[in-house]
Symmetry: C2
């Protein structure tokens, strides 16, 4: 059962990506491909993966089987598929699920646009599920799109953080050492199954701490925190002008950099069709701070939201957008500006449907600054007291932005926060 057509631009993983756009990863990627015998010009090793996913998760203490438990509203198994998918030299991924979960699994594959996935029915035990998966790979059916593999990776559906280097170790060991008597004797029965039904060599390889299995409810909590941390490593500050270095957005950018020193903070202008911004979206940045100074109200934020909605970025992870507005609380009461900004609640509801979490942030700044830029700084009676206040507001704004990005709290979307 082939469940999804190949070839789409949906991102597969934050971080290094084999087929990816990131130049820095190309060298490492090439060497990995070579080790797996998968570099261009050489006959590639045919590798497939089988995921037994027929368990009912009785140790989890929740009614949903653990592989279908949601993390940031997406089922755990989708994260595991994503981790395998990004390894381009794994040609086929066969998932064994129970009959009653077959439709759920199909809808997961469709919704999250997973590729190279085939489904087989799970057996009554984990081993029988693996057997069914291996059989599907071994069969020479006319209608089957599966190619007979030389190496099969058996991977638990509830180990979402498998890294490519561990998978490569598995494949390399299988290729070099074959399946030893020791493994057959002391390894799990999976190894015997692989040899018996696929004539495929298998070997036990030591994993890494990252390869942990989601078993208890606490592991779901841990997985959610790890995933949230992974997608919060980069923030893009979107400016409504590209000309002015003294733009107040750049001040915010500087404060974000110093307050969140473990996070990569970049900035980009939205004008000129936002080509650079398109690249940042392609590079899988999941956090945007959109500065609205030059234009009225939400114009800039709305442009950004349209770009995000058109991209595939939000399919796998919720994207945070903080719409930032500056205001002199002494000159204009925040209440007045607030009324204009109330419509953010409606926008937020709309874009939540597309997996975008939108929040508003009002930052106070002293009167002597122009609404658009800080140019007046040189001619107006700018005091060190004003400067301190602005710094404090910006710092407070950075703390709020960091909190929103870290928690990805969908219960607080559409709120207008004040710094």
């Amino acid at each position: 059962m082939e469940a999804a057509p190949p070839g789409s631009s949906r991102p597969t993983e934050p971080g290094p990506c084999l087929s990816g756009q990131r130049g820095a990863d190309h060298a490492a990627s090439a060497s990995l491909q070579s080790a797996a015998g998968t570099e261009p010009g050489r006959h590639p090793l045919a590798v497939a993966a089988v995921l037994p996913a027929g368990g009912c998760g009785e140790r989890m203490g929740v009614p949903t089987p653990k592989q279908f438990c949601p993390i940031l509203e997406r089922p755990l198994i989708s994260y595991t598929l994503q981790a395998l998918e990004r390894v381009c030299w794994i040609k086929d991924i066969v998932v064994a699920v129970t009959g009653e979960n077959m439709e759920v699994m199909k809808s997961i594959i469709q919704k999250y646009q997973h590729k190279r996935i085939s489904l087989v029915e799970a057996g009554v035990t984990r081993h029988r599920s693996i057997f069914n998966g291996l059989k599907a790979l071994a069969e020479d059916q006319i209608n089957s799109k599966l190619s007979k593999p030389e190496v099969v990776i058996i991977h638990d559906a509830v180990r979402p953080f498998v890294e490519e280097d561990v998978l490569l170790k598995v494949v390399t060991a299988a290729k070099e050492h074959g399946c030893s008597d020791y493994d057959l004797e002391f390894g799990t029965e999976c190894l015997q199954l692989a040899l018996k039904y696929c004539c495929t060599k298998a070997k036990l390889v030591e994993g890494s701490p990252d390869l942990w299995k989601v078993t208890y409810k606490r592991d779901l909590y841990a997985a959610e925190s790890i995933i949230k941390e992974r997608i919060s490593q980069e923030i893009c500050v979107v400016m409504d002008t590209k000309e002015d270095n003294k733009h107040i957005g750049h001040l915010l950018e500087e404060v974000l950099k110093s307050e969140l020193n473990h996070v990569k903070v970049t900035s980009e202008a939205l004008c000129h069709a936002g080509r650079h911004l398109q690249q940042i979206i392609l590079d899988q940045c999941y956090n945007f701070v959109c500065v609205n100074v030059m234009t009225s109200d939400f114009q800039e934020t709305q442009k950004l939201l349209s770009m995000l909605e058109e991209s595939n970025l939000c399919i796998l992870y919720p994207v945070v957008v903080v719409s930032v507005h500056f205001l002199d609380f002494k000159l204009v009461p925040p209440s007045q500006k607030m009324e204009n900004l109330m419509k953010i609640r409606e926008f937020a509801k709309e874009v939540k449907e597309r997996n975008i979490l939108l929040y508003g942030l009002l930052i106070s700044y002293p009167q002597c600054l122009l609404p658009s830029t800080l140019e007046k700084l040189v001619i107006s009676p700018w005091t060190s007291n004003d400067d301190q206040k602005l710094q404090e507001s910006l710092r407070q704004g950075a703390i709020i932005i960091a909190s929103l990005i870290k928690e990805r709290n969908s219960g607080l979307i559409g709120q207008l926060l004040i710094a």
Copy 2:
């Protein structure tokens, strides 16, 4: 080194408590005490605990030793001490820490008011630390406040979720079976140490999944989520009147009950010196929704904050207070009310120092309702449309309250949220 004086009313643990005020737990508690030979009128078994806490946590991947890593701003080891402290039949708790962490440990004991704790210097290995702890218990020093125990529990400082029943199993096994040859052969060296230096019997007893050890960074994430979940099981809605069942606060209470069906929602009036409320605080409820209808602005919330500040409730866990205000957005623009409510930011900063997380929540309700009660409902042209709108606002308010309580996000304190 006795580090803290005994006898204070600081709560030790959310949930069943041996010496506690909760009637329902008394029977279970008595039977436990009897099994441990600690019920009144019988010679109690002298039980002590030794916590080796000299590790440097190299597997954690963070510079702080894992036992000192903060969870909700409190070091992990304090949670473990709290779990042991609440077991009243453990007479002494000896913690072995390295010389360089001795002062940190003393300040932790003081800040979180831990009782029955003695400190000894850790050795270069875990076993030597245990040895030092046991030696302190065995010594007959004139200045020592420690009594020689019959049973010693050796417990890792990084297993914060130990339950009394497991500890009781350990003590009962030690009392009944003594220390078998099997345990000495195949158990850890701790058993031998205990026998050799304390003439104290020890035995390996199987633990529960709750007894897991914080080893990796992901375990800290899991521990934080578990702790947050534990202290979010009860919400008290504080009303500014006790008379009226139609009070809008009761409507909010009903919606909270239906939206958060796993959470216990109670309500209490603050008037008459808040005696019932005092009991709820003593019973360790960590979440308050304070309804301000009858009185202007924050009067009611301020009373509640004073009560909380006077109690010891906030020592161990951050307490969430959501100050709720109702307003007809059509009649009075939210902005106007907001300006009055802006001072919540200052209050929030102040009470944060006392470990109280204060947030504001403005709930819109239709014009035809009186600001104080729902009594007008019978005489005003109340339409089903109005009713729907109010229900939707209350539901939205419940979602926001649930989010604030679940996350305990200190970056968002003092914000005025809108439902």
